[in-house]
């Protein structure tokens, strides 16, 4: 179980990005959604230890992990699939899968994991994670690394971004399978109704705080009814009205 207590985060320039976030995640599948720039990725980075909160504490299974490094948190069972996967010159797909799983994975292991995300191991194992991989391929490999780790808390930041229409249903199946076959919790940041649809609970983050948090059945209809979120910029408002 993950618990955030009164978490705030300020950017280097002093801008308040998260304000007093308290959140208890004790369900197996929780989705975080909300408008662009609301603070979802920032929250995920706070959980993974990449960003240090300016106030508040974080607990994992009762242990205070606020002062633990990224590495220590990874070893405690937190995984984080980046919104924008990182490219490496010289490191191959199989190198990263080996680092993720903590062992040299043979073709068989890798084949299973890569095929989950719709990639053929034979074609991809030896590919470098450099600029030659497409955006969607990078995104799939990013997800595969998290599957290879198989930790108790997996955070996915917009895993559907860049995944083509035809593969989307498969991606949903990946999360469903993860849900059924592992004992871990899944935290997915997403803008997609079809992903929100399979969550136990939904967190709605806007302007750096949690606006709504509750069971999917209660939250989702509200969110969908309220699609026209008010913009605060006057120029933008006028532009929207003219249309």
């Amino acid at each position: 179980m993950l618990e955030l207590k009164n978490i705030s985060y300020d950017a280097e320039d002093g801008k308040e990005i998260l304000q007093d976030i308290s959140l208890k995640i004790d369900d197996r599948f929780v989705a975080i959604t909300g408008p662009n720039g609301g603070g979802k990725s920032t929250l995920a980075k706070i959980i993974a230890g990449i960003n240090r909160p300016s106030a508040g504490r974080i607990f994992l299974d009762g242990e205070d992990i606020t002062d633990l490094s990224v590495t220590e948190r990874a070893n405690r069972g937190i995984s984080y699939a980046f919104q924008q996967p990182v490219r490496f010159k010289g490191l191959r797909v199989k190198d990263l899968l080996a680092l993720a799983s903590g062992r040299d994975s043979g073709l068989n292991d890798s084949c299973e994991i890569l095929s989950e995300v719709g990639l053929c191991a034979r074609d991809y194992m030896d590919r470098e994670l450099n600029d030659s991989l497409s955006g969607g391929e990078m995104k799939r490999i990013e997800i595969a690394m998290i599957l290879a780790r198989g930790t108790s808390l997996s955070v996915f930041d917009e895993p559907e971004a860049g995944i083509d229409l035809w593969s989307f249903q498969n991606l949903i199946r990946v999360f469903e399978k993860m849900y059924q076959q592992t004992r871990g919790s899944i935290l997915i940041i997403s803008h997609q109704e079809r992903i929100l649809n399979i969550a136990d609970k939904i967190v709605y983050v806007k302007d750096g705080h949690i606006e709504r948090y509750g069971r999917r059945e209660d939250i989702l209809p509200e969110l969908l009814a309220n699609t026209a979120t008010a913009t605060t910029c006057q120029v933008l408002n006028e532009k929207v009205e003219v249309k």
Binding site: I50, S79, K89, D95, L99, G102
Partner: protein, 310 residues
């Protein structure tokens, strides 16, 4: 002359040899020829006017290899060696060179190898060269210096692919490579260099692309750590309808210094020349990504550097 244990382990480092190789070879240890073998197609002849050898490969020789490693295990030894390769038409061969220095005690050890490759029409050569140094690391130990010069002459349709690696232990190196390319010949150079401490490494490439349809591709990947210094100079002269590309990609760490100075010159409208150079530290997000997989910062750094130089 027998090869001792230290020399044997140097041979393993630079030429991946556990025992005497198959095929033609000439092993030079502490300034003397320690072992030699020739084959029906490959002759090795000691030069009479200066130190070094001529390696003569008969036209049409295929699937054969030549090993010419050099090891130095005596401190204070300085040598300049000339090796000239004459590779006949239509050959397809592999040449493995490399130099290892084991120094203990004072006195600089220095090996300067001047290699020339005369590659005949339509011949194919793969040339692998590895430089390596080891020994005690006391403050007053002698320097390990290697200054390789490589001169490549490619006749029509000939190709040479060179892999040069220098990952550790060499204090000072100036690598000079020149190439002259005839029509439809091709030259590919992969260079990998890592410098640490106060080491210094200079790579200086010049290629004259003289023949129609010839191509040259120089790819250099380097890592500079601590207070080390590196310099990368590449000059591509496009004198015909040709394709030239050079690329220098460096990771810089600590207080190291890297200088890349590419130069392109064309005297033909159909010459297409490109240079890419990038110098930068390891991207923070790369370190963080690997740390989210459970690696420490140092482990992450190692993986990134090793992958980069692979």
């Amino acid at each position: 002359m027998a090869i001792d244990a230290i020399q044997m382990s140097l041979l393993k480092e630079v030429a991946e040899l556990d025992a005497l190789p198959v095929g033609a070879y000439n092993i030079r240890a502490n300034g003397e020829s320690a072992a030699r073998n020739t084959t029906a197609n490959i002759d090795i002849v000691t030069k009479t006017d200066k130190p070094g050898i001529d390696i003569i490969i008969k036209p049409g020789t295929k699937k054969e290899s030549v090993h010419i490693p050099v090891v130095l295990s005596e401190a204070g030894l300085k040598e300049m060696v000339y090796n000239d390769f004459f590779i006949g038409e239509d050959c397809d061969i592999v040449i493995i060179a490399g130099c290892g220095i084991h120094s203990c005690g004072g006195g600089d050890s220095e090996h300067s190898g001047i290699h020339s490759f005369h590659v005949g029409k339509n011949a194919k050569v793969r040339y692998i060269e590895k430089h390596y140094g080891e020994g005690d690391e006391t403050a007053d130990r002698g320097k390990r210096v290697m200054n390789p010069t490589t001169e490549v002459f490619l006749e029509e349709g000939a190709s040479l692919e060179m892999e040069a690696t220098q990952i550790s232990g060499i204090d000072d190196t100036i690598r000079k490579t020149t190439a002259v390319l005839a029509a439809h010949s091709s030259l590919v150079i992969h260079e990998k260099v890592m410098t640490t401490g106060t080491q210094s490494a200079v790579s200086d490439f010049t290629a004259d692309l003289n023949g129609e349809g010839c191509s040259c591709n120089i790819i250099s990947r380097t890592v500079a750590k601590d207070q080390s210094r590196q310099e990368f100079i590449s000059v591509l002269n496009g004198n015909a309808a040709c394709a030239g590309h050079s690329e220098c990609d460096s990771i810089i760490m600590d207080d190291a210094k890297v200088l890349a100075s590419p130069q392109l010159s064309a005297s033909c409208t159909e010459a297409s020349l490109i240079h890419e150079a990038a110098i930068g530290k390891i991207a923070g997000e790369q370190l963080i990504k690997l740390m989210t997989l459970g690696l420490t910062e140092q482990e992450a750094e190692e993986q990134i550097v090793n992958g980069f130089l692979k």
